[in-house]
Subunit: 140 residues, 2 copies
């Protein structure tokens, strides 16, 4: 493999909600409402985003407990299934802890997006916002 | 908004295929076969991933033409629809050009994943591999 250089990202905003602490795998995030506050320079970047019912939110999972990466983990912490390779799971303890979650877009107020179902803790940095496109983001 | 620090990612591998140059929006990526060569240290991380028919591939779009970010762009380059805010499109010219594509998993050979439908150029760095989970990654 060719030598790969580091990649530098700049957060574009921050997530606000009332979930302050890490939750176990049984926690139901589906009703959680989050305000995604983008940097004001990105206000125009959300123009027309309300034509999409769902968004894909990329965020930086900066608060998993600091622990060494494990190649094999229990999916969703469920020990009945046996361990799987980390890339076969959605564990937050990843080489690059970029979170990805589909969320329902509720309202847009300029640089603030109100979404439902995002599974990120309060104050999580946001990396990117993409519209969910059914024909592109789901298996044919 | 609170001041956000830079985030540093390390590529976990590289994409190999026969698409060398940027393609226009009409290019059909769906039949393109790519080999995702992960760093050998991640071989065990793919254990059991063949239980998933589709993967979400996160990659670094390191070869869009260098041009200034535009807050408003034509979705898929289609001028008939009018401009939309960048975050309402999948344009690769983003503040953080992280690509996200659902791809069909064809074969696994240790640290090499063979996938179909990934829309990344040859030699694109890979950031993360996640299993596609139908109940989690699609609207209810």
């Amino acid at each position: 493999m060719t030598k790969q250089r580091n990649i530098i990202l700049k957060p574009i905003g921050v997530i606000h909600n009332d979930v302050e602490d890490s939750r176990d795998a049984s926690f139901d995030w589906s009703p959680v409402i989050s305000n995604i506050e983008l940097d004001e320079r990105y206000t125009l970047y959300t123009h027309g985003i309300d034509q999409h019912s769902h968004l894909l939110i990329l965020f930086w999972m900066d608060r998993p407990e600091k622990k060494q990466l494990q190649p094999l983990v229990y999916p969703r912490g469920d020990k009945s299934l046996g361990k799987a390779g980390l890339f076969a799971t959605r564990s937050p303890h990843r080489p690059n802890p970029v979170g990805l979650k589909l969320a329902e877009l509720i309202e847009v107020h300029g640089n603030v997006l109100i979404v439902k179902g995002l599974d990120a803790l309060n104050n999580t940095p946001v990396i990117d916002i993409k519209p969910y496109l059914p024909g592109y983001d789901s298996p044919i």
